[in-house]
């Protein structure tokens, strides 16, 4: 495990807006492109 803390995106059931999932999907997609 590297020194820099791995950041993560969070979503809370019945608590977070749908936008949080869109942000996660974008991160995964960008991760793929990168």
């Amino acid at each position: 495990p590297g020194l820099t803390p791995r950041s993560a995106l969070l979503y809370k059931f019945s608590g977070s807006p749908s936008k949080s999932l869109k942000d996660i999907n974008n991160m995964i997609r960008q991760g793929e492109q990168r």
Partner: protein, 155 residues
């Protein structure tokens, strides 16, 4: 002149906030329409089929869906009490909530993409509180409604 400039900035901030709040209201309206439409559809189906679908063929709301390519290898670790899951995928995935799935099923009559027929528009209006029906007409015109009545201010 300085005060004018400050007020211009203040005005733009308010316009942006109003657009965001309109987008949130649109999301809530679509959620209510999609949910009520789903309930109506299932109720009609059960009347036609004389009963509910098989227990293990349905998923109760709320839920989320993770979709990934059929080729993806998924490794899953589960705690004994099922309170914790760890999934490892060797390929990308997407995550969608139930409202997104209902939209894809057409339960919000395509309002979110501005492709709603007049008949469906009437149906959609019947599913929201009367005082908010006007928004459904606005939403059906497409995303430009978020700016409606604000551009004149910005001009």
């Amino acid at each position: 002149a300085q005060e004018c400039q400050n007020l211009e900035i203040e005005k733009q901030r308010r316009i942006e906030r109003i657009k965001q709040k309109r987008a949130q209201l649109q999301e809530l309206l679509l959620q209510q329409i999609a949910f009520k439409n789903l309930v109506q559809r299932n109720r009609q189906n059960e009347q036609q089929n004389q009963g509910p679908p098989a227990m293990n063929s349905t998923i109760q709301l709320p839920f989320i869906i993770i979709n990934t390519s059929r080729k993806t290898v998924i490794d899953c670790s589960i705690s004994s009490d099922k309170f914790e899951y760890l999934f490892n995928f060797d390929n990308t995935f997407e995550i969608h909530d139930d409202i997104e799935v209902l939209k894809r099923m057409g339960m919000s009559f395509g309002l979110e993409s501005g492709k709603c027929s007049l008949d469906d528009l009437k149906l959609a209006k019947s599913l929201v509180p009367k005082a908010l029906e006007g928004y459904i007409t606005d939403i059906s015109t497409g995303p430009s409604w978020l700016n409606q009545g604000l551009l004149s201010n910005s001009a």
